[in-house]
């Protein structure tokens, strides 16, 4: 693999890492909210948070471009403040974060729902506040599902294409991730390089998913109260 190819791989890993780090707190918070909240509007909230899972990625990218483009209100305000988002690495992180978000939320939410609420109740009666109950009871019981969600979100972020190419473009050295590089190589007849890069994505995805499976498999047996 050439130095350029290695650069693309590292860039992709870096972007996926940043995106995953960015959605960690909001994702876990949303998962907790969906697991516990029973009031009105829950169904609508669930649906909205799951939209990026089902929408065509290009539609998600287009929506981001409509909000952040130079000639849109938010975009021009950011531009006047000297902040460039579209067609820079920040747009790559944003697009992959949005697309990965629902995966983290779903996995973490299932994990939180499996936590026996009576255990949380017991902690509260013993004097723990809501935050302490979360950190010392809920999260320790749900951490496997949350971690599986994080790894899944990371894997999804590695392979993001449609939303990324719409809002970040395919700029070699600036916004070109593995999937965009494969696309570009095929377009320009460099099939050999495309296949090599595709092989790398398969290896990365395999590792990530295998890790997820391993985490989830070890759930039973260790956590039985």
């Amino acid at each position: 693999m050439s130095l350029d190819d290695l650069g693309v791989v590292l860039f992709t890993l870096e972007m996926a890492g940043l995106a995953t780090a960015a959605i960690l707190v909001p994702g876990v918070a949303s998962a907790l909210l969906l697991a516990r909240y029973r009031g009105p509007g829950k169904g609508a909230l669930e649906t909205i948070l799951s939209l990026p899972l089902v929408l065509p990625p290009t539609a998600v990218g287009l929506a981001l471009l409509e909000v952040l483009g130079r000639d849109r209100p938010l975009g021009s305000w950011l531009a006047s403040a000297g902040v460039e988002v579209v067609f820079t690495w920040k747009a790559v992180v944003l697009a992959t974060a949005v697309m990965s978000f629902p995966l983290l939320v779903r996995s973490a939410r299932t994990a939180f729902e499996e936590v026996d609420p009576r255990l949380v109740g017991i902690a509260r009666t013993l004097g723990a506040g809501p935050a302490a109950a979360f950190w010392r009871v809920t999260l320790p019981l749900a951490w496997r599902g949350v971690l599986a969600g994080v790894v899944l979100a990371f894997s999804r972020a590695l392979g993001e294409f449609g939303a990324t190419i719409m809002v970040a473009g395919n700029i070699p050295g600036r916004t070109q991730t593995l999937s965009l590089a494969i696309f570009h190589d095929v377009q320009t007849g460099r099939d050999g390089r495309a296949v090599a890069l595709a092989g790398v994505t398969v290896a990365l995805a395999f590792c990530a998913l295998w890790t997820t499976e391993w985490i989830v498999r070890r759930r039973s047996g260790e956590d039985a109260p």
Binding site: L18, G69, V86, L139, G169, R174, T188, G189
Partner: protein, 257 residues
């Protein structure tokens, strides 16, 4: 479940986030020029960019795609310093949008169209009418990509477009059309004469005379948002060294010596 397990799971995540932040936060050591250019300029500008990097110590990043796509990205806020388009129209749009000054643009190159055929095709092409015997013709999108628009205008003038339209395989840029014919996916294609020189398996079967096709001019410009680096690169495009590269690859250089 003990807190040991919780700590174990959080540590790698925190390290990942911290490491990624460190990698992303470091400032770029060298000044960079971001060049958006028509796909047909891939080889020429890579070579010229490398020479510029050697002379100036700056880093040149090139994004090659259909000029229509690049113009759209620039309008939406892409931070390009220099834009070289395969069509005056796309540059005019950016000028009208206030993204560049008229004094910062000039006509750099001219090019011509050729018809290419894949290795499997054995027939002889004496005129554009011979395209009627081909099943698939690859072009840049004839309603968006400059090379495709030029090709369509040529075929419209020849009175053949309406009959050929349904055989057209539209591609994202002219190099993708070249790839389609090179790989045999399309029997024939219409690309620039400079692209045809890069073909591995396809061959030129017909040259489109300049009188029959619209004028194919490549304007180059430095965008308003660019600082001095963009202007330096633009000037480098006019240099004798760059002229030599362009001419060697088959372009006609429009800038005076």
């Amino acid at each position: 479940m003990s807190e040991r397990g919780l700590g174990r799971s959080l540590v790698p995540v925190v390290l990942l986030a911290a490491g990624a932040t460190v990698l992303a936060g470091g400032p770029a050591p060298r000044r960079e020029v971001l060049v958006f250019a028509a796909a047909s300029l891939s080889d020429a500008l890579r070579e010229i960019g490398t020479a510029f990097e050697r002379n100036s110590g700056m880093r040149v990043l090139c994004s090659f795609a259909g000029s229509n796509d690049l113009a759209r990205q620039i309008r939406a806020g892409a931070p390009a310093d220099v834009f070289v388009s395969a069509s005056r129209d796309r540059m005019d749009e950016l000028e009208e949008a206030g993204l560049l000054r008229q004094s910062d643009r000039f006509d750099l190159l001219a090019n011509g169209l050729v018809v290419i055929a894949s290795a499997r095709v054995e027939q002889v092409f004496a005129s554009p009418r011979d395209l009627l015997r081909v099943r698939r013709i690859a072009l840049g999108d004839p309603w968006a990509v400059p090379a495709g628009i030029y090709a369509r205008l040529w075929l419209e003038r020849a009175g053949l477009w309406s009959r050929l339209e349904e055989r057209v395989v539209p591609t994202l840029d002219v190099r993708a059309a070249l790839t389609a014919v090179d790989s045999g996916a399309a029997e024939a294609g219409i690309v620039y004469r400079t692209d045809a020189r890069m073909a591995r398996n396809a061959r030129v079967v017909l040259e489109v005379p300049a009188s029959e096709a619209p004028p194919i001019v490549y304007p180059a410009a430095v965008l308003l948002r660019s600082s001095g680096e963009g202007r330096l690169f633009l000037d480098h495009l006019r240099s004798p060294e760059s002229r030599a590269v362009f001419e060697r690859l088959g372009f006609e250089v429009l800038v005076e010596r």
